[in-house]
């Protein structure tokens, strides 16, 4: 049996442990999750490209330069030029802005709306939960792209509508996952205690339940990023997303894939690679976040 003095010593030892710097923590995480670290770097680079697109590139992304049509990749144009003589590297860098803006906006909006609705549904339970979940079932039954196409066909094209089109199908997916966590939390006594103290529903949901379902929320949010970027590219490729002359990867692919795949393959290849790299990076990043935050995976 440990004596009080032993306990005091062990507490002292614990306090004496040196505080680990954030650099060490990052190094440690990178060692444990190398793929996650690489993907985080890729995401960081993409954010930098998008933020400093004006500084990084030498050409105007939208200005036609007909004397430089279909120039193959080289020193002057690293990724070549398209049918309007526009520098493809420049358009890919600026296209990152479109992809990230749409991707982050849609996934944040979709996940957050799903978080609130999912927790609300779990909290109120009963008939409300039953009916609400059936609506969610209807929405989930449609594949993401079909749902997004329906929304675009109703509201029209353009960046805002594309964000809306991607956000709407993401909501039920997040709501369903978050609800399952929130159902467990609802049964914990502190929620009953909060009710007994007469707190409003909104306060209980936002201050006592939502903070406890942040892990699944963040996991869903990061996993949606890749999906949202891919959906944006798909809609643009189908001519239903953002429109020319806005630089967007799917749009660049659409403009070049059909006509120039053989004679000027760099026109569709580089935007295609950009989409692949971005989606791959965000998916790996999402997986790493899930591995870190999911208590079951963490314990394993």
């Amino acid at each position: 049996m440990a004596s009080p003095s032993d306990l005091a010593v062990s507490e002292m030892d614990f306090d004496a442990l040196p505080e680990r710097s954030w650099v060490d923590k990052i190094k440690d995480t990178a060692r444990k999750k190398p793929l996650g670290a690489v993907s985080a770097c890729a995401v960081f680079v993409m954010l930098l490209l998008a933020a400093f697109a004006n500084v990084i590139t030498f050409y105007d992304p939208v200005q036609n330069a007909f004397d430089s049509m279909h120039v193959a990749p080289g020193a002057a144009h690293w990724f070549g030029t398209d049918q309007f003589g526009r520098d493809i590297f420049t358009r890919i860098v600026f296209g990152a802005r479109t992809a990230l803006f749409v991707g982050f906006s849609a996934s944040i909006l979709g996940s957050t709306a799903g978080l609130i609705l999912g927790v609300g549904s779990a909290y109120f339970g009963g008939r409300f939960d039953l009916i609400f979940q059936r609506f969610m079932d209807i929405f989930i039954s449609f594949p993401l792209i079909i749902m997004a196409l329906s929304v675009v066909s109703i509201f029209g094209t353009g960046t805002q509508n594309v964000i809306l089109a991607i956000t709407i199908p993401l909501i039920p997916r997040c709501a369903r996952v978050v609800r399952s966590s929130a159902l467990a939390i609802r049964e914990i006594p502190y929620v009953d205690a909060a009710r007994a103290l007469g707190f409003a529903h909104v306060r209980i949901i936002f201050r006592h339940m939502i903070p406890n379902v942040m892990a699944p929320y963040l996991i869903m949010l990061t996993s949606f990023l890749g999906q949202a970027i891919l959906l944006e590219a798909s809609l643009s490729y189908l001519g239903l997303g953002v429109q020319e002359p806005t630089p967007a990867w799917g749009l660049m692919l659409q403009g070049g894939a059909e006509e120039y795949a053989e004679s000027a393959p760099w026109i569709p290849v580089f935007p295609g690679l950009a989409i692949t790299a971005a989606v791959f990076a965000f998916n790996l990043f999402g997986d790493a976040v899930r591995d870190t935050l999911d208590p079951r995976l963490r314990s394993e």
């Binding site: 094209t157 429109q243 020319e244």
Partner: protein, 539 residues
């Protein structure tokens, strides 16, 4: 001695050449048989030629029908060469001061259902086109505004009486949409029956239509042009995506596409297929226009509209865009090679066609400043969700406007909603529009610029009575020189002084097809020469 040898050598060469010539194959005679497979990039809204205006209907359905007269299949590029189809002999000379045309109708024509064709059927057809009953659409009613009456005094005679003499009448008769219907069908089934049913006198009989897949036709053995058609049948395959149409020709799943491909596609196909591919090219009676909405500010101001047209470098654009899009020719309101069209010298005097683009853009900026927009303004360009040439030209004009300080976003809609916006909602700032006609008939083709209460296809929403007056004068003027003079004033006012709406570039038609397809000649319109009775396959 040397001279004799030389003579002998020359004689030998001549004899050898003669022998070669005599054994050389003569111009190949048409072969019978085979099924022509072609791809169509648009859907069939209905089978009724009198209400439709899309090649999606013309290409698969036109071979089932005949016309009163048609563009000469052997000379379809000519705007004045017409031949009889169900009529007999040549195009009749007008009488009674050029106001009466008497056609003789052939007596050997039967509809696919076995019923005999008479002048009463042709009369019933033109009655439906020119003066349809209330509630019945007729897309080209305005083309026949000069017609006073159509009569059929006997089964072999048809008479058109005109209100005034005009050169626009005969070309209007040759429009490929004027399918001859049976009077009995119209009387028995009503005026909407032909939207979903086919009964014509064309070279092919309707077999089946699998929506979204194909239309099939079989040779009509009682076809009135003897010895034709050469084909056993045809299959019009629906393929909305250009890549699929291209691959279909490349992989020999289809032999031809009649609308047209962009230059790059032609080059790729030629590179891949070599001699197995033949390419026919032609100017196209189609132009892409920019239509500002006069009901929206600041496009109600002629200075702003002039600035928009002055910013566009048509001469430079033609050079480069012709490499990537199905546009090429710089022209005014009239088909560029027609005698009524403006010469290059005349064109360069119109705003937007000046040879010095810098001077033109400086004037555009001055006009914008004068109109109260020294720093430009923002607006949205409404466009059709079709790559060639709409989206390509749309992207180009946005860049042109950027050069005078205008910030333009593009709003693209699929064809259905695009038309709904132009025709019904009218909630656009500036839209891309087009003026595509079949038979080259400038006197009526330019009707797109008259007031919107007179022209059903003018979407800029303006009324200009001066243009209306000149349009009427032109159409009633028998002297071509005077017509031309009025046309110049009309063009100057429409494109320059008022800049109501303006032409960007005229289209250019490129038809690459399998070399074994013979007999089909390219026309300056994708609506013309699609009866297929003279097409044959050399395989």
């Amino acid at each position: 001695m040397r001279n004799t040898r030389m003579k002998t050598l020359l004689i030998a060469v001549a004899v050898f050449a003669l022998a070669l010539w005599s054994f050389a194959p003569a111009e190949a005679a048409p072969k019978k048989g085979g099924t022509l497979k072609f791809v169509v990039g648009s859907k069939i809204p209905s089978y009724d030629g009198h209400i439709e205006s899309t090649f999606g209907m013309i290409h698969p359905i036109r071979p089932f029908y005949s016309l009163l007269i048609r563009v000469n299949p052997d000379n379809p590029a000519s705007p004045t060469d017409f031949v009889c189809d169900v009529c007999e002999g040549g195009i009749p000379a007008p009488t009674e001061g050029h106001t009466k045309y008497t056609f003789k109708i052939r007596g050997d024509i039967t509809f696919h259902n076995g019923q005999k064709l008479t002048s009463a059927d042709v009369k019933a057809t033109y009655d439906k086109i020119i003066s349809p009953p209330k509630g019945i659409e007729s897309n080209r009613k305005a083309f026949f505004s000069m017609v006073e009456s159509v009569t059929a005094p006997d089964p072999k005679t048809l008479v058109f009486k005109l209100k005034y003499p005009t050169g626009a009448f005969v070309p209007a008769l040759a429009l490929p949409y004027n399918f001859i219907y049976s009077k009995a069908d119209l009387d028995k089934h009503g005026y909407k029956w032909h939207q979903k049913n086919v009964n014509g006198t064309g070279a092919f009989r309707f077999v089946q239509h699998q929506p979204g897949a194909f239309v099939e036709g079989k040779r009509y053995d009682k076809y009135h042009h003897k010895g034709k058609p050469h084909l056993d049948g045809f299959r019009a395959i629906s393929a909305p995506k250009m890549a699929i149409r291209l691959q279909a020709i490349r992989g020999d799943r289809a032999a031809i596409e009649f609308r047209g491909f962009p230059p790059k596609a032609r080059d790729d196909l030629k590179k891949a297929l070599g001699d197995k591919l033949t390419v026919q090219e032609s100017d196209w009676n189609c132009n892409l226009m920019v239509t500002p909405n006069h009901k929206r500010k600041p496009f109600d101001d002629a200075r702003v509209r002039r600035a928009l047209t002055l910013a566009i470098d048509r001469w430079g654009g033609s050079k480069y865009l012709s490499r990537i899009a199905i546009v090429k020719t710089v022209g005014g309101v009239v088909f560029p090679k027609h005698p009524l069209a403006a010469t290059k010298e005349e064109l360069t005097k119109i705003a937007g066609y000046w040879p010095d683009i810098n001077k033109s853009r400086a004037e555009a900026k001055r006009l914008l400043k004068e109109a109260g927009y020294p720093n430009g303004f923002e607006f949205t360009l409404h466009n059709r969700g079709v790559d060639q040439p709409y989206k390509v030209v749309g992207t180009w004009v946005i860049d042109q406007w950027r050069k005078i300080g205008l910030k333009v976003k593009q709003w693209v809609q699929p064809s259905g909603p695009f038309y709904a916006t132009l025709r019904k909602k009218k909630n656009f700032d500036v839209s891309i529009d087009f003026n595509c006609q079949s038979v080259i008939n400038p006197l009526v083709d330019v009707s797109k610029f008259i007031s919107d209460d007179k022209a059903g296809n003018q979407y800029a929403q303006y009324q200009d009575r001066q243009l209306d007056k000149w349009f009427e004068q032109m159409n009633k003027e028998p002297d071509v020189k005077k017509q031309r003079a009025i046309m110049r004033k009309y063009e100057k006012r429409a494109l320059d002084e008022m800049a109501h709406q303006f032409v960007t570039l005229w289209w250019y038609k490129i038809n690459p097809h399998r070399s074994y397809v013979k007999g089909w000649k390219i026309a300056p319109s994708h609506y013309l020469n699609q009866h297929l009775d003279n097409v044959w396959i050399e395989k």
